[in-house]
């Protein structure tokens, strides 16, 4: 049933209201209180510790800007925030195309929010088609409240009217609470082209619903449009106010997500911004890349600021060249890095082998997307793990690590550079589209001068020292950098001896292979065992890596509240593996991984214990620990939801028997 507006039509039953307002399944202090609004209408206020709202429109209608401002303001107010973009596949698809849905999805929390959460509780839609598509994708909570522009209902084009009726019927039957909003009508009071105003009007509505600090919102708008003429800001302020007023006059509910302001300095950004800033903070000075979604924006964010540092972004002719340029630069000085995603990683494969063979430090960031092949360019997956580890023909020992939060996207760059230089090693950092596009606040990092290590060591090479003077124990050796007197030698991808001379003798190849491999063992010996989240023994241990950490731990929390003996373990290093895993696994009746990559499900036709293809981390852990590690993985082109993982935990709990 539907609340027709502006003419305040049919009122819904208390029942209906309740349904519409308790629009979340999550653990929450779902206290509902009632206050009275301006016109004396009853205003129902839902107080919850988290709530998810999304704004969807055709691309170009500014829903994203609206969402970004809303997210930033909420963060400033001290809410936990996790924002993700809703992006269409095409740059600018035709209007009112389902798949053209574009916008932002913001999860608000009282506590810091570590993941995008479950389904959406409240939607602001600029047309019914994108709204309907979100429903079709299963993105919306069964009891979500949907606010939708209603100009289409009465549009001149009858086909459009028909589309409206069809879509709305569907949504209605789905049992959502639907509120029509005369966005265009309202905006036209202030601007001539409503398309350019709706987003700010909608922002006003959200400001009222979520009780945001209006001044903060106004400031944020001013900042967002600082480069534009002042009139723009003024108009937007007016639209904002209009939205607030409209909401106050017409809505009968609000949502309170009590903020917990902290003293700590915070910054808010997405994972690609964190990678970009982390790279600068790490003192790296050359980034070679070739554009590829979802990695490209790292270079956009490096933008001017990198050059201000004396850094260079080189957009190469292809990914192979990007790797080559980065390798050449690393060879000649400070470690450089290259940024890419699956298809680009594939192209860099040969150069990665050369990096390992020549022991030139190199940092590669792979912002994973859906695969194989072009796959799902804008969607998240964790399917490059094995390719990153084993993709290079021949034996190519190197480091693979994965940040598990936006903050770690920043810090991992510092770690990566340090390891690369200390060990003369290739380091692959696996981020993904979930981190890349997720926006969340984290404590402002403190710069450490250490990170910007001084220029490369060009001091004369001691008489007789050789370019690969491997320490027989550790495999470490001093890197000879061009410019260092007496260090002349020729680097080669051919098998070579300590003097970098091409060598075919068997023992030399065996020894040099040993030395390159040894460095990993040495690095491993410096790592600490990972910490178990939850009790460090129990019935079920859920192991994850990368961007799924927040969702897994939230799911574990929920399951533990139900009394399930489940804990989780998150790995940062995939090569070498952190110590102690086997020992930790043995403390649990059952061990499983949860990953965003493909695995066969037991019970499917033809799938047996013997031929089942496992999740990528699960496969590694089985070989590594010989523990019968099970897995639940999905390639849904979206981050995993804590709710889904929670259910999986229930299903996978070992039945009966004691540890």
């Amino acid at each position: 049933m539907r609340l027709g507006l502006p003419e305040h039509g049919d009122r819904e039953t208390a029942e209906g209201k309740k349904k519409a307002l308790m629009s979340t399944k999550l653990p929450m202090v779902g206290e509902e209180l009632t206050v009275s609004g301006a016109d004396g209408r009853e205003i129902h206020v839902l107080e919850t510790d988290q709530h998810t709202v999304e704004i969807v429109s055709d691309s170009g209608e500014g829903a994203q800007k609206c969402g970004q401002i809303f997210g930033a303001v909420s963060a400033k107010m001290g809410n936990g925030v996790w924002t993700v973009e809703i992006i269409p596949a095409e740059v600018q698809p035709p209007p009112r195309q389902p798949a053209g849905a574009s916008g932002n999805r913001i999860r608000l929390g009282s506590e810091p929010v570590t993941n995008w959460g479950d389904r959406t509780n409240l939607v602001m839609a600029f047309n019914e088609q994108v709204l309907h598509y979100r429903h079709f994708l299963g993105a919306l909570d069964d009891e979500a409240t949907l606010l939708v522009e209603n100009k289409w209902k009465t549009h001149d084009d009858e086909e459009i009217r028909a589309q409206w009726d069809e879509a709305m019927k569907d949504l209605d039957e789905a049992g959502y609470r639907i509120i029509e909003v005369p966005m265009e009508v309202e905006c036209l009071e202030i601007v001539d082209d409503a398309r350019l105003g709706k987003n700010m009007f909608v922002l006003g509505i959200l400001t009222w619903i979520y009780n945001r600090d209006i001044q903060l919102v106004r400031d944020q708008i001013a900042f967002a449009f600082r480069t534009k003429p002042k009139e723009i800001t003024d108009k937007n302020h007016a639209l904002l106010q209009r939205g607030v007023d409209w909401a106050a006059a017409n809505l009968d509910f609000r949502v309170e997500v009590p903020p917990h302001p902290t003293e700590e300095d915070m910054v808010v950004m997405n994972g690609n911004q964190a990678v970009a800033l982390g790279a600068i903070a790490a003192g790296m000075e050359l980034a070679a890349m070739y554009p590829i979604t979802p990695a490209t924006s790292v270079s956009h964010h490096l933008g001017d600021v990198f050059e201000q540092f004396g850094g260079i972004i080189h957009q190469a002719e292809d990914e192979i060249a990007a790797a080559g340029v980065a390798l050449g630069a690393s060879y000649a000085g400070k470690v450089a890095f290259t940024i890419t995603s699956g298809p680009g990683l594939a192209l860099k494969t040969e150069f990665l082998g050369l990096a390992v063979m020549t022991e030139i430090p190199l940092v590669v960031i792979d912002v994973q997307r859906g695969g194989p092949s072009t796959g799902l360019p804008t969607k998240v997956e964790q399917s490059d793990l094995l390719a990153a580890l084993y993709g290079q023909p021949g034996d190519a020992p190197h480091v693979v690590m994965a940040p598990s939060s936006i903050e770690e996207c920043f810090t991992s760059m510092i770690t990566a550079r340090k390891i690369a230089e200390t060990f003369r090693m290739l380091v692959i950092v696996l981020s993904d589209a979930n981190l890349a596009t997720g926006v969340a606040p984290f404590p402002r990092p403190e710069m450490d001068p250490e990170w910007h290590s001084d220029p490369p060591d060009l001091s004369p090479i001691p008489e007789g020292m050789r370019p690969y003077e491997w320490d027989p124990k550790t495999g470490l050796s001093r890197r000879f950098i061009p410019g260092a007197p007496g260090g002349m030698h020729t680097l080669t991808g051919l098998a070579h001896d300590e003097g970098s001379k091409v060598a075919y003798a068997s023992d030399i190849n065996q020894h040099s292979s040993q030395m390159r491999s040894r460095k990993l063992a040495v690095l491993q010996s410096t790592l600490k065992p990972p910490e178990v989240y939850g009790d460090d023994s129990g019935d079920l241990l859920v192991v994850g890596w990368g961007s799924t950490k927040g969702a897994i731990e939230e799911a574990v929390d929920r399951a533990r509240e139900e009394g399930l003996k489940v804990s989780s373990l998150h790995l940062t290093f995939l090569s070498p593996m952190e110590p102690g895993l086997k020992e930790i696994f043995h403390r649990f009746k059952k061990v499983m991984t949860v990953e965003i990559n493909y695995s066969d499900d037991m019970g499917d036709p033809f799938i047996t214990e013997e031929n089942r293809r496992m999740g990528q981390l699960a496969w590694l852990l089985r070989a590594h620990t010989l523990v019968d590690v099970d897995c639940w993985t999905r390639v849904l082109g979206e981050p995993l939801r804590p709710g889904a993982i929670h259910e999986v935990i229930r299903d996978f709990m070992p039945k009966g028997g004691d540890a």
Partner: protein, 316 residues
């Protein structure tokens, strides 16, 4: 690479005088009579002439007989992977413009697997010298057709003879916007080879030199006539190009060509019965990629200050 060059002249006084011998690396393992030997010698002569510090000079190559070059010369060397010498060198120059970089490639290395990088390296016009040692064949892998193999010439992969007319590296290079130095020489005319390398080195920007190179082992016949018969070569001469009076004694075929004339250069580059040697084109004023990026230098503290300012933009 005059800037680089003059640099050396400056801080050189202190250092000792480098002789050709100072640039000798491992003993060259090319076949007897291989044209690569001559290129190596000419290059060592050039280094000695320019008094390049071995530690400030880098030779980068791909894979192939010719790409063994860096092993045989006593500077820093990077024997890379097949077809990728140019991206590596570009990275070196971008990060370390102070280094003098020479690139040595075979015809397969540069014009086949490396073609994409080649086209773009010409365009970037990074200040370095690129040598194409063109023996019209895949040598190291034992006689497969290369893009420059003469049409009809038999190889192990095209036993019926190469199907297509050969790619002309000079013509192709001249077709790329921002080309700034394009020359052709022959390894068996040492004086011309040396002078060409010298001018390539003196040029500011990407100097592309195609060197006709004998491969007695697999394609002895291809350059036979050009080597035996002086009239099979035609020398392009000009004050802004190469003009070696002594050569005229042996080589009668010369024509005057002004390297600043691109149209004429392209015309002359087209296939003809005679192999044309000399500078086809030169333009010292084309944008040089690494110079378009003027990079400030900062102390660590300055850097941290900038960083903090940047972080402010993300501050909550």
């Amino acid at each position: 690479m005059s800037t680089a060059c003059s640099l050396v002249q400056l801080d050189h006084d202190d250092a000792h005088e480098f002789s050709m011998g100072d640039y000798e690396g491992a003993m060259a393992r090319w076949c007897p009579g291989c044209g690569d030997h001559a290129v190596l010698t000419a290059m060592q002569k050039l280094l000695a002439h320019a008094q390049l510090k071995p530690e400030e000079t880098v030779f980068v190559s791909g894979i192939g007989c010719s790409s063994r070059f860096p092993h045989y010369i006593n500077t820093y060397g990077f024997h890379g992977i097949h077809g990728r010498a140019l991206p590596i060198s570009t990275g070196i120059k971008l990060h370390r413009p102070d280094l003098k970089v020479f690139v040595v490639m075979g015809d397969g290395d540069c014009t086949s697997i490396g073609a994409g990088h080649w086209i773009h390296a010409i365009r970037y016009n990074v200040d370095m010298v690129a040598l194409l040692l063109d023996n019209n064949i895949y040598g190291l892998t034992k006689k497969q057709t290369s893009p420059t193999t003469p049409q009809g010439y038999k190889s192990n992969t095209q036993p019926q003879g190469s199907f297509l007319p050969p790619l002309n590296p000079v013509e192709a290079t001249l077709g790329v916007t921002n080309a700034s130095f394009v020359a052709q020489t022959a390894e068996w005319v040492p004086a011309h080879l040396y002078e060409t390398l010298k001018q390539a080195y003196d040029h500011r920007g990407f100097s592309f030199v195609r060197i006709l190179q004998r491969c007695p082992h697999f394609t002895a016949d291809i350059f036979e006539n050009a080597v035996r018969n002086p009239d099979a070569l035609e020398f392009m001469v000009h004050d802004d190009g190469i003009d070696l009076p002594d050569l005229r004694k042996i080589y009668k075929q010369t024509l005057v060509h002004d390297p600043s004339d691109l149209d004429e250069a392209r015309r002359l580059a087209e296939p003809s019965e005679m192999q044309r040697l000399g500078v086809f084109f030169r333009d010292d004023n084309r944008p040089i990629y690494e110079e378009t990026r003027h990079l400030p230098h900062h102390t660590v503290n300055e850097k941290i200050a900038i960083m903090e300012k940047e972080l402010d933009r993300y501050a909550v």
